[in-house]
């Protein structure tokens, strides 16, 4: 039984210039303890997908179609009041910028106490403080620092605190949205190691959202590549690395510099990502695709199975 099951999800942003289809026909499932990477460029819909799972798509975004099942419950049918028993308890979210997600006038300890006591009202204040101290220790921070304010921590430490808040209630799934994009490489690597260690200890599943395909390849079991609101490819990390199928994935892999290679030849994907207010008809990638055929501007290709555990949305594959 999968922990998370998403079926033909579609999200629109209803803007004054018409509906923007931020997500279209997204389906996948995730089992307990798995790590899934969502890769894509800005505007590809990866954050919208993450926020949909929390039912936190910002205005004017609307989930127009589909199902999101967590432990067999379709959360799109739940009343808002019951979502509180899902958010932070079953699914937690780590945002990119820790400075704007922490309250600057509250001590770090207060963040933890509020979180724990909101969801577990029978926990005493003292008990909550003890638990917070424990989490800080797991994060590699001194437990006395519970009395410090967010600005007294460095960027890397603040992001570790965000991770701590996400795991404090021991959720089944953590969604990390570009958690290390604002950090320098050394701090980034340390933060990702910490996230991986804690994930293993607590046995959580992880959805990792990033524009950086290197990190996703290195750290995730499975990968979804997003383009203009569509899932264009779904594969295990080794398969995607060895045999990428979608022309966009192929192009993306050829444009990432690898420091372990010398005399690497990078090539670019021609053109630019589509304007989502007025996307191309048919497959959104066809204007940039080296293999575009007559059918591509006419019809959106279906997501088809091509090989074991490998899905691709492209007319080059299938019959």
């Amino acid at each position: 039984m999968p922990l998370l099951e998403i079926d033909s999800l579609a999200v629109d942003y209803r803007t004054s210039r018409g509906a923007v289809h931020a997500l279209d026909d997204v389906s996948f499932s995730l089992h307990k303890g798995e790590t899934l990477g969502l890769a894509g460029e800005s505007g590809s819909g990866k954050s919208t997908l993450g926020l949909s799972i929390m039912r936190l798509v910002p205005y004017p975004g609307v989930i127009v179609k589909g199902q999101i099942k967590i432990d067999e419950t379709d959360i799109l049918k739940l009343p808002e009041s019951e979502m509180r028993s899902i958010r932070a308890v079953k699914v937690a979210y780590i945002f990119q910028d820790p400075m704007t997600s922490l309250n600057p006038v509250k001590k770090i300890g207060a963040h933890f106490v509020e979180l724990i006591r909101t969801h577990e009202p029978r926990t005493s204040e003292k008990e909550a403080v003890e638990r917070a101290k424990n989490v800080l220790k797991n994060l590699g921070l001194l437990s006395e620092r519970i009395n410090d304010y967010p600005h007294q921590f460095s960027g890397g430490m603040r992001q570790r605190i965000m991770i701590g808040l996400a795991i404090a209630l021991n959720p089944d799934l953590v969604i990390a949205d570009e958690p290390t994009t604002a950090l320098d490489v050394i701090v980034q690597a340390k933060t990702l190691d910490l996230l991986e260690d804690l994930r293993k200890i607590y046995g959580m599943a992880l959805i990792f959202i990033s524009h950086d395909l290197s990190i996703i390849l290195e750290r995730c079991d499975k990968i979804i590549v997003m383009y203009a609101g569509h899932m264009v490819e779904y594969a295990t990390s080794p398969d995607l690395h060895k045999a990428p199928k979608h022309p966009y994935t192929q192009g993306l892999l050829q444009s990432i510099p690898n420091i372990e290679l010398s005399d690497q030849k990078l090539s670019a994907i021609p053109g630019s990502p589509p304007n989502m207010v007025n996307p191309p008809k048919g497959c959104p990638f066809w204007p940039r695709c080296p293999y575009a055929m007559e059918i591509c501007p006419v019809k959106v290709p279906p997501l088809i199975v091509s090989g074991q555990n490998h899905l691709v949305r492209c007319f080059l594959y299938g019959e």
Binding site: D184, L213, H241
Partner: protein, 333 residues
């Protein structure tokens, strides 16, 4: 022989360059103490750039790479030290003579959204330097602008002339910024993180464009980046900075093949590599980069260094040529 003379032609030379920014104190603190404190953003940096070379300053945020770049094009005035452009000491230039120098050196910034005036059409913005420097105006200016648009791949150029920045994509905006930087036919371009805000699929086109300009226009670049993978792809030589100082400098081949300074080693070991489930051997550094106001005594890296010795806390190591064209500032070498 001719080749050797060319290799030796330095276009930029920086010697013992320092830039200290005074820290603003509260009124009470000003009464209580006379002592000023400073952010030592650039603290004794020496390097040179050869003609047609791509020289990269790399390091983490706060290491002083951007400040160094801004000093080189004299957007900032150095606290001390010399900057030579060709044979001229430009470190104290002011007024009209500084303005004339600007024709020869240009800068491209990280954020193409912020570096183009939203109320100016792209054509006007790119052509503006021609008017400022009295090179061309009117129809003649427009013709040059169209040519430059063509060079940076904003085609067909006529279509872009009257567009405003918000009508362009991020990649197109950075192309426009590049167009503006080359329109006066400068000799040196300081490129400060020119691709870090651009989508991955478009980065290569911008980088290739810059590499082409070097070939076609004979440009020299001071490239500034935090991304060592990009640095490795584009540069000839790289200098790694830490807390305002260069700690290792050399050809990219030598630097990436066998980094010598413990900080460079740690930095390289932390870079993600696009391969699945790699067992990385990351060198663990203690703590984080200290504040540039209170720089540790001795070697500024010693509190975090895995190989520190007793002298490291006392004596500051100088940047020494440990082998031909490779420089390291570390007591262990």
């Amino acid at each position: 022989m001719a080749n050797k003379v060319f290799m030796l032609s330095e276009i930029v030379k920086v010697e013992n360059l320092k830039k200290y920014f005074p820290v603003q104190k509260s009124f009470l603190e000003q009464l209580l103490t006379r002592k000023m404190s400073y952010v030592k953003a650039v603290d004794d940096v020496t390097f040179s750039i050869n003609k047609r070379e791509i020289f990269t300053l790399a390091g983490e945020s706060g290491c002083g790479k951007t400040t160094t770049g801004r000093l080189v094009v004299r957007l900032l005035k150095p606290t001390s030290g010399q900057i030579y452009f060709r044979d001229q000491d430009i470190s104290k230039l002011e007024g009209e003579r500084l303005r004339l120098l600007r024709r020869k050196m240009q800068i491209v910034f990280q954020d193409p959204y912020a570096s183009l005036n939203p109320r100016m059409t792209v054509g006007d913005a790119v052509g503006h330097p021609l008017e400022i420097h009295g090179v061309a105006k009117g129809e003649e200016k427009e013709k040059i602008v169209l040519d430059v648009f063509d060079q940076v791949g904003l085609t067909p150029p006529e279509q872009f002339l009257n567009l405003y920045p918000h009508q362009l994509s991020g990649g197109q905006r950075q192309r426009a910024a590049l167009a503006r930087s080359i329109i006066l036919k400068p000799e040196l371009i300081v490129a400060d993180e020119p691709v870090s805000m651009i989508d991955v699929s478009l980065r290569t086109t911008i980088i290739d464009l810059m590499l082409n300009f070097r070939k076609e226009l004979g440009l020299t670049y001071l490239f500034i980046t935090h991304d060592l993978a990009v640095a490795k792809y584009i540069s000839d030589r790289i200098a790694i900075m830490y807390l305002g100082k260069i700690i290792e400098m050399g050809s990219k081949e030598r630097l990436f093949l066998s980094p010598t300074h413990p900080y460079t080693q740690a930095l390289l070991s932390a870079i993600p590599v696009p391969e699945p489930k790699r067992e990385r051997k990351m060198i663990d550094l203690k703590g984080e980069v200290p504040s540039a106001i209170n720089i540790p005594p001795g070697c500024r890296f010693h509190p975090r260094c895995p190989d520190k010795k007793s002298e490291c806390a006392i004596k500051e190591p100088q940047l020494m040529e440990t082998e031909k064209d490779h420089f390291v500032a570390c007591h262990s070498n």
